[in-house]
Symmetry: C2
Subunit: 320 residues, 2 copies
């Protein structure tokens, strides 16, 4: 195992750190979904996780491992999405000062939500600024620790606790279906699932146009794509992580693709029939199942609804 960034014990350790802090999110089923898909679908409801997405698991685990001196100097992160709120909330709970670097065109609700958790928000001009360089400069100036969104062992281990819970809640799954952006959730969960049950099959889901992980798996190496345009903003990565990719290569059978309009259909189905509030990235797994993209011999499917922070304008547009 030493060639991978984490092993199973790291996830077990993360689970101990998260106990009583993160939500043990429920698993939901829908007879209507089962009938439409012709399979038995269990949905792991990470939209009900603290701050509305699985990201809290990794952020909290990473920050909880900092030394007292590191904590005093604070943490920095860059994100316009769920990682921002996750780092902000985890930092508040651990009494660590947090600065979140967000682009000037981030939705005002996300800026407000991040500030509401007590974080300092540093706004940069998206057009003219290299966000990683900007964030590194902030970190260097303050002596703060950068908490990356996925490519960090403690972040990956934290995300893996979602699968640890899920497979205790529903032990007899044939396959897991998991959204993949940078690969923290998919990598951590795949490692856990295959350790607990080597027979389980693990699939990632990307949207068409944001298929960097699928391409990388096929090429046998990390491929970088042009900045993707997709409604699933959590999947808009250009390449899998340096640490997450080897884990995905070892444990993930395939990454399947869905179109944006299929994601919107899944979002509408989840809201109206299953009463599940998902954001676009959170709905890609259900979209893949509804579109028949998962091998037909996988009968008991576990799908991770990874987040529910949908923007109000999109909610309105769903029925425009």
């Amino acid at each position: 195992m030493t060639d991978l960034a984490i092993d199973f014990a790291d996830v077990e350790d993360a689970a101990r750190r998260l106990a009583g802090v993160s939500h043990h999110t429920p698993v939901q089923t829908s007879r209507t979904l089962d009938a439409l898909a012709g399979r038995a679908i269990s949905m792991k409801c990470e939209q009900l996780q603290r701050a509305g997405a699985f990201k809290f698991r990794g952020a909290y685990n990473a920050i909880s491992r900092l030394s007292a001196a590191e904590r005093a100097r604070g943490v920095v992160a860059f994100s316009s999405g769920n990682h921002a709120q996750a780092v902000a909330l985890a930092s508040r709970l651990l009494n660590v000062p947090a600065a979140i670097c967000m682009p000037d065109d981030a939705p005002s609700v996300k800026l407000a939500a991040t500030r509401s958790y007590g974080a300092e928000v540093l706004v940069y001009e998206r057009a003219s600024t290299d966000r990683e360089a900007f964030t590194r400069a902030v970190a260097a100036e303050r002596g703060a620790t950068l908490i990356p969104p996925y490519d960090h062992p403690h972040v990956i281990a934290g995300q893996g606790t979602a699968a640890l819970e899920f497979l205790h809640q529903v032990p007899d799954l044939d396959a897991l279906v998991i959204p993949v952006g940078g690969g923290g959730l998919l990598g951590g969960c795949a490692l856990v699932a295959k350790t607990l049950n080597p027979a389980i099959r693990v699939f990632g889901v990307e949207t068409e146009g944001a298929d960097d992980v699928r391409r990388s798996l096929r090429a046998g190496e990390r491929i970088s794509i042009a900045p993707p345009s997709t409604i699933a903003d959590g999947i808009r990565t250009q390449s899998p992580g340096r640490l997450t990719f080897p884990i995905i290569q070892r444990y993930v059978e395939d990454v399947v693709l869905v179109r944006d309009d299929e994601v919107l259909d899944a979002l509408r189905f989840l809201l109206l029939r299953a009463k599940v509030v998902a954001e676009p990235t959170g709905a890609v797994g259900v979209a893949a199942v509804l579109q028949g993209r998962i091998p037909i011999d996988c009968v008991r499917l576990g799908v991770i609804i990874c987040g529910g922070n949908i923007d109000p304008p999109l909610l309105a547009q769903l029925w425009a």
Copy 2:
């Protein structure tokens, strides 16, 4: 107890009939809601009940008690809302033919949903037709049994199972906060709650303009109001039921009021922060709590989210 339509044993019997058929719906909490309300709020998620509302409990219990001969002749109901889908689904599960009388201006999605459960839909002209007379004529012609939406002992007993589950899930509640239209849910749940814990306090919630139950309680008799105009369509009754009112009189401390705009605020909060899909009637309890309408010494509140069948156009309007 003989002066009331049901007693506790009727609810226990209903629970046995519903076991393995209705969903044991989860209880959800939200730290953000607790912080806003200054109380500990537990939400009983009946929007996750089969057919999307608590109505399935009463409809299934009532139909399950019909004799073989009665079942063969079928059931009839009138409803443009959740009772229609509940009777349709319960009938299909019990192999009973069902005819649902719906007005010609009912939303097409509700007509389609009712038909999708296998029920025959009989459309009447709302402007020119007395719906109860129309339905009774259909029932008489077919020898079918009318399943009323609330004023029936087996319906009230079925709805009471929601509180039976809730108080087993969260035994130490100070008060229950429950939407009230015709009073089936409020009556059944109040009887259960006060039987299990005489110290618990039970509050109904209506919208302003649809305050027939509040007025009736104050008058000490059933008051009939003009057809109410409110966004909470499950509350648009003109008077409490003949059977439900005496139960409410005995067990319910008060009925509090919320405005439609407060209901919309609660709907938005539930969707965006708690990730709960409620219909307007389902959100009135949370609205009452957020607006401080429940006595301040009730610290541990149980709120029933009674349904989640929100119309897509309203979902879009929430952020217009």
